[in-house]
């Protein structure tokens, strides 16, 4: 055995520079993270303030916290949150149901002219949604779907499907072809191949795809604002309705916004690990 020379840890100038450099990056990362977090924190703090203390200059840091604004939010959010949950969950399930077979047909068993198909799918996202809102409105009127939750489910599905197909497709390409061949030899049909072999392997990817669809659908405002009134109004519409024509509203809006962001944050927190795994799938092998 050879004895390792003992290196003085702090005296080595190279090592010191290396460590201080790393610390510098750490500090920078923290500053950026805090800069991103402060507005959110401020929103949450404001939500606990009485309306009178919410919009003062200089801002008050010491105040008696109150749940009054939250109570107000909870008294009125019922239909909005129900609509949001239905539209979000419904559209996400539909996206997965349609997206998984579509991705399969564009990756594992590519159909003829799959490149064109793939491009068509993403090209639907190139049209600004504002340009489509007029025709959409007319169609909604004619199909009697205006202000209906079904309309939102359909539109959110259409909105999220292209991204979902591109994501799921890239996950499917990662599945080793031998596995699929083994499944084929073992007697698995197409459906079984997808549900029994592919889906368990890409499940982190599916979770992250679903999560992104949930976030997009939950936060969607433009379509909801233009195509719904009361029967299908969603949480973002509730936030807008929290702004009254006159009077103070900052604390109330903060409380509503805090409530509205909780589901997304909660889902993201729970799925954190598979989200990171899913989004970085392919990056590491």
């Amino acid at each position: 055995m050879t004895a390792m020379p003992v290196r003085p840890v702090t005296r080595d100038p190279r090592r010191f520079r290396e460590m201080s450099g790393r610390a510098g990056w750490g500090v920078l990362a923290w500053i950026v993270a805090i800069a991103f977090f402060i507005p959110v924190l401020w929103m949450v703090i404001t939500a606990f303030k009485p309306e009178s203390a919410a919009e003062t200059w200089p801002p008050q840091f010491i105040f008696r916290p109150t749940l009054a604004e939250f109570r107000l939010v909870f008294s009125g959010w019922g239909p909005f949150v129900t609509h949001s949950v239905i539209a979000t969950v419904g559209s996400t399930i539909l996206v997965l149901l349609l997206g998984i077979p579509a991705s399969y047909a564009l990756s594992v068993y590519p159909v003829k002219r799959w490149r064109d198909g793939l491009f068509f799918v993403i090209s639907t996202k190139m049209l600004p949604i504002v340009a489509a809102i007029g025709p959409l409105y007319v169609i909604a009127v004619h199909t009697h779907l205006l202000d209906s939750i079904w309309l939102l489910i359909i539109l959110y599905t259409a909105m999220n499907l292209p991204l979902a197909i591109w994501m799921i497709r890239s996950f499917m390409l990662e599945v080793p072809s031998e596995l699929l061949e083994a499944a084929r030899l073992d007697g698995a049909g197409r459906i079984r191949e997808i549900t029994g072999v592919i889906m368990p392997i890409i499940s982190p990817g599916l979770v992250s795809t679903a999560l992104i669809c949930v976030i997009f659908a939950w936060n969607e405002l433009f379509l909801a604002l233009n195509l719904t009134v009361t029967n299908a109004a969603t949480m973002p519409m509730f936030l807008i309705s929290s702004v009254p024509q006159e009077g103070l509203y900052i604390a109330h809006l903060s409380a509503a916004a805090t409530i509205a962001s909780i589901p997304v944050i909660a889902v993201g927190w729970i799925a954190q690990r598979s989200l990171v795994r899913g989004l970085s799938m392919g990056a590491i092998k």
Binding site: P176, E178, L179, E181, A182, A183, R184, L185, D186, G187, A188, R192, G196, V197, P200, I201
Partner: protein, 362 residues
């Protein structure tokens, strides 16, 4: 159980390139262990995949047990395949992996469990391993599970695509004999692909040597060694490989290392009939016998590889040319730089056509 038959089976990947498998004709007898061997790109794996149904045929046909399966989907061919990287389902336990094909066939759960247990016992897989995921297994265990997955199905034909190439050297030798023994016990027709000629020679009842998509020769290991049909087979089979040197023909023999080696009659006759002025002379390393300074072929030792039981001498023969390799007894091999001489029995010489590579007479 069944025999397997390739009838001018052809696979073309790209139109302009030569076929990956070119009009392959091969008969595998019932219960036979057939090894397809060749360098990479020789078409051996493609040939196997054609039999599995994973690769369509561009010509000819494939038969399993007298049934033309050319257009039969993989699952209906009654075959099982062991993949090079095992292709175990990562989310399923070992037992689920092994039983998946039976589940697809609608075999009852109890029967499935019984057959999985049986296969596990056959392969020395512990019961507790059955509930583990492939990730928690060692390389050797994974290999056995992959074997087990094939055995459980009790197929008509086993297909194996370099199943040992991911194991370390020692385990590979061990598993090699286990697979050969298992195949003998089960008596199931097996087509085995490898690039390793030692594997091919030790395992196969017969060995099919492929090169450039074409079948070169299909024979028993001994026959391949003793009667290679052409220069490629001669150079590929045997380790270290045969010394092949292009030498000029002279009166009464060939000129090598400054001396005239008498050629056996058949080779000389064939060379003459073909009107050749030079031939490719082949001598196996084990047929170059060290002679104490009185041999026909003089040369200088430029490298000694000690293998224990014997030693490989790399020798530059007098009058230049590529160095040759000779197998010498391990105990007292000549030293580096030493001048040595060799004798060769005329019967141990092979002659090949310098252009076509075909064997001359013999």
């Amino acid at each position: 159980m069944a025999q397997v038959k390739y009838v001018s089976a052809t696979r073309v990947y790209t139109k302009d390139a030569p076929p990956a498998v070119d009009a392959l004709d091969l008969d595998v007898k019932d219960g036979e262990f057939m090894v397809l061997v060749g360098p990479s790109g020789s078409g051996k794996t493609t040939a196997l995949r054609m039999l599995a149904g994973l690769e369509p045929l561009d010509g000819g046909r494939v038969e399993i047990g007298d049934r033309d399966v050319t257009f039969v989907p993989p699952k209906d061919r009654d075959i099982a395949m062991v993949f090079q990287n095992y292709a175990l389902y990562p989310q399923k336990t070992v037992a689920e992996n092994m039983g998946f094909a039976l589940k697809m066939q609608g075999v009852h759960k109890d029967e499935r469990a019984r057959r999985v247990q049986e296969a596990a016992r056959l392969l020395d897989l512990d019961d507790q391993l059955l509930s583990r995921k492939p990730k928690a297994l060692s390389g050797g265990q994974r290999q056995r599970v992959a074997m087990g997955r094939a055995i459980v199905r009790e197929p008509q034909v086993f297909l194996m695509d370099e199943p040992l190439s991911n194991l370390d050297a020692k385990l590979r030798v061990q598993t090699r004999s286990q697979i050969a023994e298992l195949q003998h016990r089960l008596g199931i027709t097996t087509v085995y692909v490898t690039h390793d000629q030692v594997e091919a020679m030790t395992m196969g009842h017969r060995v099919a040597v492929l090169s450039g998509g074409k079948l070169q020769q299909c024979a028993s290991p001994r026959d391949l060694y003793e009667n290679p049909i052409n220069e490629f087979v001669a150079g590929f089979i045997g380790s270290p490989s045969m010394n092949l040197q292009t030498v000029p023909l002279t009166d009464g023999g060939v000129k090598l290392a400054g001396t005239v080696l008498p050629l056996p009659g058949p080779i000389a006759g064939a060379a003459k009939a073909a009107g050749l002025s030079e031939i490719v002379l082949g001598i196996r390393p084990e047929h170059l016998h060290l002679a104490n300074g009185s041999g026909e072929l003089p040369g200088d030792v430029i490298l000694v590889e000690e293998l224990g039981a014997d030693a490989l001498l790399h020798v530059r023969l007098a009058a230049g040319g590529d160095p040759v390799v000779a197998r010498a007894e391990g105990r007292r091999p000549p030293a580096l730089g030493q001048h040595v001489t060799f004798n060769v029995q005329p019967d141990d010489m092979f002659g090949f056509h310098p252009v076509t590579g075909a064997r001359l007479a013999g």
